[in-house]
Structures are given as C-alpha cells and as structure tokens.
C-alpha cells in the first residue's frame, strides 16, 4: 500500500492525467459509447413509461411550487386579518423575499462571479458573496412577481400546460415493452374455449406472468447496466486506482444478509415503480372508478356479457363466506394472482399501488426529515454554543410530545380543514410531512455524536486556518462523514414509517380510501384470518414484515460497509488466526 519516496526527480513534466473526464472519454470513447448505447436502448424499450415518469415528476414539482408560492400570500392574509391590508402586503413581500433568499444561498456558489462583476462595485470577498445572493434573490423575486402579477404569468402557465400536455401525450402514445397494450391480460373466455383479448390468446394468468416477468427482467437489466457503468468508469476513466468507496462496495458485496435486504427492497421498489404493469387489472378501473368502467366476461349461461367492475367486485369479495384465493380466477374471468380483498378488489393491484403509497410517504418523510437533521447537525456542531442549545431545545420539545398523538392531532386538524396539503394521496402527503416533522429530532440526535466528532477533526481546523468558508467546510469536510450515518438511520427509519403508516391506516386515521394502502388491507382482512379468506390480511402482513426487515438489513449492511473498522477487525482476526 505504501509508496515510494523521493523517486521522481523527473516527475514534474506534466503527465497526461490532468484532463477532465470529458477529455478522457474523448480519448478512449469505446467503453463509454457501448455503455451509453446500452442505456439508450434500455430507455427506448420503456420510452412510454419514461415519459409518464417525467410527466409525474412535472406534476410533483408543479404541486410543490404551487404550495410554496401560496405561502407568502397566506402569511400576508393572516397578517392582513389582524393588522390591516397594508401590513398584510408587507408581510407577503417579506415572506416572499425571505423564501427567495433561502433558495439562493445554496446555489449562489455555483453562479459565476461575473454576475456580480457587472455591477462594477469594488467589493470585499464577503461583500461579494452577499451581493451575489442579493442579486439572485432579486432575480427570483422579480421572476416570481412577473408570473404572479402580470400577464406574463398567464403565458407562463400556458407554456407549462403545453409542455405537460405534450409529455402526457407522448407518454400515452409511445410504446413500452411492459405496457398493457403490448401484453394485454384482460380478456374473457370464449364459449368454445380459449381466450379473447389476451396476449396471443394465452390465458390471462400466462399473459400476466409474462408481463410481470418482463418487468423484473427489465429492472434487473437496468441495475446490472448501472453497475456496469460504475465498472467502466472505474477501469477506464477514473484517475485514482483506488478510492475508499471501492472498499465500501466490496464490503457490501460480501454481506449476504445485506444483499438479501437489498434484493427485497429492490423488488419492493420495482413493484411500486411498475405498479401499472404488474397489476392484473387497471387500478383506475378496479379501485378508483369501478362504476364507470365496463368489461366483458363469459357468464354461467355461456354468453359473453359485459358488466362494471363495481358489480363484479361485489361478487368477488373474500370475506369468509366467499373467497377468491391466490392464483385463481373470479367468476368474471379476472385473474387474481394474490386473490381479492375483502371488498372484492384485486389484491395484487392493491399491493403494488400500496407499495407506491408507502414508498412515496417513506421517501418524502425520511428525505425531508434527514435534510432537516443534517443541516441542523452541521450547523450545531460547527458553531456549537447557542446554536446547539437552541437545536437541543427544539428537538426535545418535539420529542416530548408522543409522536402518535402529534400525528393524529395534526392530521385531524388538516383533514377537517380540508387543507390542500391533505389532498394528495388522500392524506398521504400530509402524513409524510408530519412524519418528517416528528422524526427529524430522532435522526438529528443519532447523527449528533458523529457530527460533533467530525467537527473536532484537525482537518476542520486546517480548513479554517486557510480561510475556507463555513458553508464549504461543512459541505466538504463534515457532510460526507455524516452522510453514511444518515443513510443508515434513514433506511432503518423508513421501515418504521411504512409500518406506522400502515398502523395508522389500520386505525382508520392515516390514508383514506380509495388510495391503496397495506394497513387498510390488513384491517379489512383481520376478521377472516381463521376462515378460508385468510390471505386477505396475511399477504400484506407478510409483505410489510419482509419490507421492514429488508430495510433494516440494508441499513445494517450500509453501516458495516462504510465503517472502516469492520475491515480492521477482519484483518486483525485473520492475523491472529494465522499467528495462533
């Protein structure tokens, strides 16, 4: 490992390792090209879904922006209510400026200095930084003002609408290899035997299996391809022949429990992402609007008749008397790989869309909570003193309220008021935000030790001694060390969030129907566990346990992987083993 010393009097002529990644790729394009071509091919196969995803991302961003944009006015309105409209206007303006400023601080470092130089001021370094932020704030506020108060706003939203519309149109018109149109599995028996409307006339079960198999094969290929990308980069383009990350990856790859966790989490995520493809019936038809969608089936009299899902569901309930178990068809020729729910909806569809719900809530809650925790822990461990005390008090206050009580209170308040936040996912987003609020103190506490520790490292002092800014010091010299910890606690907690969501829904508090949620499935099936409809509660129950265990295993594996001590132990054990 160690290297030669004083062996390079000739080492000063520029070796060719000073090029940027772009140049290195240009010099040896083949591996990168091959890899990119593979990726492009993979994307092309699912181009319809890619655009659907983009459209959804647009929707989420749009919703967030709208929500944030509403804050200044609602603050202003509140102030106006008590202090009069002039004060309200001032409050609106102040809130807007503050929010714009908060947005600019993290991005201003990446804006070129020329932006300030055009002002022609002779500024100190600090003055320069603030001038840049002020300038950006001004730009943001001006742009927001234009959109909000002038006709430009109309044009702007028209433009956005056009783009979103275009994306949606593309999403529905472009093909996907896993699409329902390409491999349909909804059809009906023919009086003379065989199937009508399914893929190649196969049975719906076979068609569904093919489509689902394809989904997982595709997802696995993407995963492999990403891994290949890392490999290609490592062997062909990376300058360092070893980085600490290599060891992390190696340790993770040798951790079978962690790999098991990863596999389950992967299945869970794929199920959530491809929910439309892996569900045998369309959620829109079967769950959300069963009234307005008809389909055909072969009735007892041997005639092809049509009915709506709402009637078919009524007859297909698994409620103890009546059971449509796993791997069976109901009386309406609908294939139910996991049976039906107590309300006659398709379990597989419910489960995959429920995975979506859980994933969205889990990621939003943990992502937001982790962000708060990391920012606060960086600030409080870098500045210590009063910042630390204030953070301790804030987190203690929040933790003093029982989390469950807090969640119930806040969600009831918002849902009663029918606040816009309570609408997405039938309360799911609201739940996620409350979880983030209730969970950040815990995450902050668990990374407080490591961040205090890293803030004591001499390299932080060294950075200060040559005048590195606090923000950069935190980002470069502290955050990477905390990132590992937050990843661990995040993945441990995400299981907790999923289970709490299910528990709340089980109690009837969390997510309202019709949004699919695993907790509601368990709730619905709990009284039939001892009957022939045992599967209604058991399948989602097992799924939850698996997912939570898997996230925990993943978290543990990440911890072991990023912890260099684990390696020391290994080699020491090996050494002593050899010696003895």
């Amino acid at each position: 490992m160690s290297t030669r010393q004083r062996d390079s009097t000739d080492g000063l002529e520029e070796p060719d390792d000073d090029k940027l990644l772009r140049d290195r790729v240009r010099e040896n394009p083949r591996p990168a090209m091959v890899w990119l071509a593979g990726l492009a091919f993979l994307l092309l196969l699912e181009i319809g879904r890619v655009f659907a995803g983009v459209g959804q991302a647009f929707g989420i961003v749009g919703f967030t922006v709208e929500l944030l944009a509403g804050i200044p006015t609602s603050v202003g309105d509140n102030v106006a209510g008590t202090l009069g409209s002039a004060a309200g206007f001032v409050a609106t303006a102040i809130t807007a400026v503050l929010m714009a400023f908060a947005v600019t601080v993290p991005v201003s470092a990446s804006v070129p200095d020329a932006a300030v130089d055009i002002l022609g001021l002779d500024l100190s370094r600090r003055g320069h930084r603030w001038a840049k932020r002020a300038e950006l704030t001004f730009v943001v506020v001006a742009a927001a003002g234009l959109v909000a108060y002038t006709p430009v706003g109309g044009a702007f939203s028209a433009l956005i609408g056009a783009i979103t519309g275009g994306v949606d149109a593309l999403a529905s018109s472009l093909p996907s290899i896993t699409s329902r149109e390409l491999i349909p599995n909804a059809g009906h028996r023919l009086p003379e035997g065989g199937w009508e409307g399914t893929f190649l006339g196969l049975s719906p079960a076979a068609a569904w299996a093919i489509r689902t198999g394809l989904v997982f094969a595709y997802a696995t290929t993407v995963l492999v391809w990403l891994w290949r990308g890392f490999d290609v980069y490592r062997t062909h383009y990376r300058l360092a022949d070893w980085t600490p990350r290599d060891d992390t990856v190696r340790r993770f790859r040798n951790n079978y429990w962690g790999l098991f966790g990863f596999a389950i989490v992967f299945l869970f995520v794929v199920m959530a992402l491809w929910a439309p493809a892996v569900s045998p019936v369309e959620a829109q038809h079967n769950i959300y609007e069963p009234n307005s969608h008809e389909f055909q089936y072969l009735d007892e009299n041997g005639e092809v008749t049509s009915t709506t899902h709402v009637f078919a569901n009524l007859d297909s309930r698994s409620d103890g008397q009546n059971t449509i178990g796993p791997m069976s068809y109901d009386d309406y020729n609908r294939w139910a790989p996991l049976g039906t729910t107590n309300r006659g909806q398709d379990m597989m569809t419910h489960l995959s869309y429920g995975a979506r719900t859980s994933l969205v809530i889990g990621i939003t809650a943990i992502g937001l909570g982790a962000l708060i925790a990391v920012v606060l822990s960086l600030l409080s461990s870098y500045y210590k003193g009063i910042t630390d005390i204030v953070t301790v008090m804030a987190s203690d206050t929040i933790q003093a309220v029982p989390a469950l009580l807090l969640i119930m209170l806040v969600s009831v308040v918002f849902q009663e008021a029918n606040h816009p936040i309570a609408q997405p996912l039938d309360g799911g987003l609201l739940l996620a935000l409350i979880f983030a609020f209730a969970y950040w103190p815990g995450m902050w506490r668990s990374i407080r030790g490591p961040s205090l520790q890293v803030s004591e490292q001499e390299w932080v002092d060294a950075a200060k001694s040559y005048g590195q800014t606090p923000l950069q010091t935190m980002r470069k010299h502290m955050a990477p060390y905390i990132a590992g910890y937050i990843l661990i606690y995040g993945s441990l907690l995400i299981g907790g969030v999923i289970i709490s969501t299910a528990a709340l829904t089980f109690l009837g508090l969390g997510i309202n129907p019709p949004t699919p949620e695993w907790g509601r499935l368990i709730d619905g099936g709990q009284s039939y566990v001892s009957t022939s409809s045992w599967h209604v509660a058991t399948i989602p129950g097992i799924a939850i346990v698996l997912v939570v265990v898997a996230f925990n295993a993943l978290g543990d594996a990440i911890r072991d992987a990023i912890d260099p001590e684990a390696d020391v132990d290994e080699s020491e054990a090996a050494a002593t083993g050899g010696g003895a």
Binding site: S8, G11, P15, A240, E458, D461, S465, P564
Partner: protein, 454 residues
C-alpha cells in the same frame, strides 16, 4: 512585501528590532467551557509576551495542558484572544475580521499534530493540497495542479500521488502531505504543533530534517510546539518554557539547556535522562499535578509545586517534609473552598455524618502524622485547621499565608494588598528572561537552593 510592512510600522513601543516578525504582548486566551452557569473561565494562556524573529525557530515547551497548543492556535487565529495583542509585522491580527483576516491567513499556517486527523480521508491528496489554493483563488486550475505536484515533490513525495487517498500512506507520509498543504499558500510563519510526536521514532528525524530544509529554502519562521526536549534542542534557535498559561523562561536554546535559570526549567530538564552519570544534580521530583487552569494559584503559577519556593526567613530551617505538608494543606483548603457542597452534604456534616470530604483532622493526620512538628508551627497549624473545620476557609488560608506565605504565594512584603506576581528578570547577556522572584537581589539563586534542599 512584509519587509516593507515591518519597516513602515517601526516606532512601536518596546524592542523594535527590524527583524521581529511576530510580537506578542500580554496575550490571554480564556475558554468558557463551563456552559451558561460558570463564570470562571479556563485560563489556557494567561498573559504572555514574547517576540519571534524573522527566520528563526522558536520552541515552545511544557507539560501537556500548559496552554502551549492554545497559544499556537491563537497566533494563527484559530482561537480568539481574550485580551492582549499579536502584532504580525506591526498589524494586530487579533483585531482582524472578515476579509482582512482571510487575506492575512495566507501568511500564517499550521502543521497539525495528528496526521490521521489532519487529512480528510474522503479527498485525494491532490484535492487536499489544492484546497488552500482554491480557497484563495490562486491563478488558474491548471496552475494549481502544477503547483500541487511541485509541492509533492518538495516534501519528498511523487506527483503521481495526486490521485491517491490518505489511507494509502504511512504516518510519516501523511505528515509530509500536511506540510505540503501548509506550504501551498507560501506562508511566512508556520506553527508546528508537535509535528512529530505522533510518528514512529524512525521517521521523526526525517520529518525534522524536511522541516529544516524547507525553512532554509523558503525563509520560513517557525513556532515549534513540542514536549520532546531533545527535538527542541536540535531544531530551535530559542525556546520558551510554558507552565500553566505563563512563559516561565525564554531564551537561546543552548544557554537555556545548559544553564537553566528558572526553577521550572530546572525541573523540566532534570527529567531528561542524563548522558553523563556523574552529573552533579539529581532528578528533581515535582509533587502533585499542575493546578487546574480554571483556578490558578495566586502569585507565581509554579508556587504550588516549586522545589525552591521562597520561604519566610524564620521558617527557612524547617524540615522539607513539613513544608511539603504545609503546601499540601494549603492546596486542600483551596480545594475545599471552591468545591460546591450540596445542601445534603452540609446537613450531613452538621449532624456529624460522613461526607465525601475527609474531615480536616484526618487530612492533618495524613499530612503531618509521624513528623516532628515544632511547637510554634503546630500552634499555627491547629488554628488553621480549626478555622477550616468550621468552614472558614478564607480565614484559614489567610492565617496560613500570613505565617508561611511568601512572595511566591503572592504575599507582598507588607503582608496584604493585591497579590504580587513575579517579574521577568533578564538572566543573561543574550536577553534571556526568567519569571521568578529568585532572581531578585534579596533572594538566593535557584541552583544554590536546589543543592541545599535536595
């Protein structure tokens, strides 16, 4: 450039030799670690003054916890000074803020003690050494890379180490990397905070030699903090000896090592194994540990442990063991005075129950048991213990000091008034200074007393 700065700002008080680079005047750095409630700061650096000349290496030695690292960190503004000034080419850097401080930081850098902790493991060597250049926007990125490579060469590593990570290097090599980073901005002044103490003995010499070479090549001025005296003797032109936040003695290295003036320097040097077994003086054992810097003793900082503490004339002949006992008693009373006794303990005490404080009588027996204490001394001591037993610690201390105290404890010649502190006496032609009353005419010199008392 700094040459000019220095010459334009002459006319300062005190010595203004044109080659003085750093002038420290009455510098104090206190920590307030006690949280919100405690009002007694830790006096890590408690009023020091000295000069560092351009191009020299000033050693700073002392036991751990004496404040030498804090002093070094204050000099490069990693720590904020509580009081006093640090004139760097005439500019008081303790007053610098914002951009001025940022600009000034180029001039003064630090090599840290622990090579494991001073390099960020997640960055490549190149990124680490480059960071100061990036922070100061030095030339173009390509120039910076070139400079990093020449720095790597300068410190005895090779340019292809640019893309390696700190994990791949040994302690000595990591320290070289740290040194390269320190040099990146071409500083004039470098604080070396025990740069070799964490390294194997075999590589210590290499690093020391490297530092010396670099000093010659780049005209660097060093403040070399260390507790290994032999290294200090090897590399330093002058040495400052620190104890409990004060500089006890400062002067040219050889002179200080061969003919120490201050009692603390004597004690410190006697801890080095002597190559010459016939050397006249024995090893001086210091009793106890250094006092808590939150509660430094009045008078001379070394007075609680000084082997040659000045004694009142009438007790000069008293047995050394009795003196040890008296000193111990004083420390214990001081300790009792500041220990906050909980209400519960006070109640227990009132009813004669056992508390976590030994009773003063037990202490007395422990200290003086088996010693032949002269009657007059015994009388005073029993008054003292009586007062202490009644929790009149202040009174007990006053009584003790009135009888046995001396200038060393801050008791002035007239017996009351503000506590007196020692002064710096010039003890040789080279301008060596020592902080001790022993150098005053009316007292005998340290060496003689040491011989007497040992």
């Amino acid at each position: 450039m700094s040459q000019n700065a220095a010459s334009t700002t002459t006319g300062d008080e005190a010595t203004t030799a044109s080659d003085t680079m750093v002038k420290v005047r009455d510098l104090k750095t206190y920590y307030d670690t006690g949280g919100l409630l405690s009002d007694r700061p830790v006096k890590a650096v408690d009023g020091v003054s000295f000069d560092i000349k351009r191009g020299e290496t000033l050693g700073l030695v002392g036991e751990s916890g004496c404040g030498k690292t804090t002093l070094g960190r204050t000099l490069i503004q990693l720590e904020e000074a509580t009081d006093g000034e640090v004139l760097f080419d005439g500019t008081d850097i303790t007053e610098l803020r914002g951009d001025q401080l940022y600009e000034w930081r180029r001039n003064a850098q630090m090599v840290f003690q622990d090579p494991d902790s001073s390099l960020n493991d997640r960055m490549t060597i190149g990124e680490i050494i480059r960071e100061p250049l990036d922070v100061h926007d030095w030339k173009t990125p390509a120039d910076r890379r070139k400079r990093v490579k020449s720095l790597l060469d300068e410190v005895g590593l090779s340019p292809e180490h640019y893309y390696r990570y700190p994990h791949q290097f040994s302690g000595g090599q990591r320290q070289r990397i740290g040194i390269a980073r320190t040099l990146a901005l071409n500083p004039e002044f470098i604080v070396l905070d025990e740069p070799v103490s964490a390294l194997d003995v075999s590589v210590q010499a290499e690093i020391i030699n490297l530092l010396e070479e670099l000093q010659d090549e780049f005209d660097l001025t060093y403040l070399f903090i260390a507790h290994d005296l032999s290294v200090v003797r090897h590399i330093c032109d002058r040495v400052a000896v620190m104890y409990l936040g004060n500089i006890m003695e400062i002067g040219p290295t050889e002179e200080l090592f061969t003919d120490p003036a201050n009692p603390y320097t004597h004690a410190l040097l006697s801890a080095i194994p002597k190559p010459d077994p016939t050397a006249s003086r024995d090893r001086i054992t210091l009793h106890g540990t250094p006092p808590n810097p939150r509660y430094p003793p009045t008078g001379c900082p070394f007075s609680t442990r000084c082997p040659v503490r000045i004694r009142p004339d009438e007790y000069e002949g008293l047995d050394d063991e009795i003196w040890t006992g008296i000193n111990g008693l004083r420390e214990i009373i001081r300790e009792r005075m500041r220990a906050d006794r909980s209400i519960r303990e006070r109640v227990r005490e009132r009813f004669g129950l056992e508390t976590r404080f030994a009773t003063i009588d037990e202490t007395y027996d422990e200290l003086f048991g088996g010693l032949a204490v002269p009657d007059d001394v015994e009388r005073v001591l029993s008054e003292v213990t009586d007062a202490a037993g009644a929790h009149e610690e202040r009174e007990a201390l006053d009584r003790l000091n009135a009888e046995f105290g001396s200038v060393c404890d801050g008791v002035g010649p007239d017996g009351d008034g503000d506590p007196v502190e020692p002064e710096y006496y010039e003890v040789s032609d080279s301008g060596r200074l020592s902080y001790c009353h022993r150098h005053a005419d009316e007292h005998r010199e340290t060496a003689a007393v040491l011989d007497d008392r040992s």
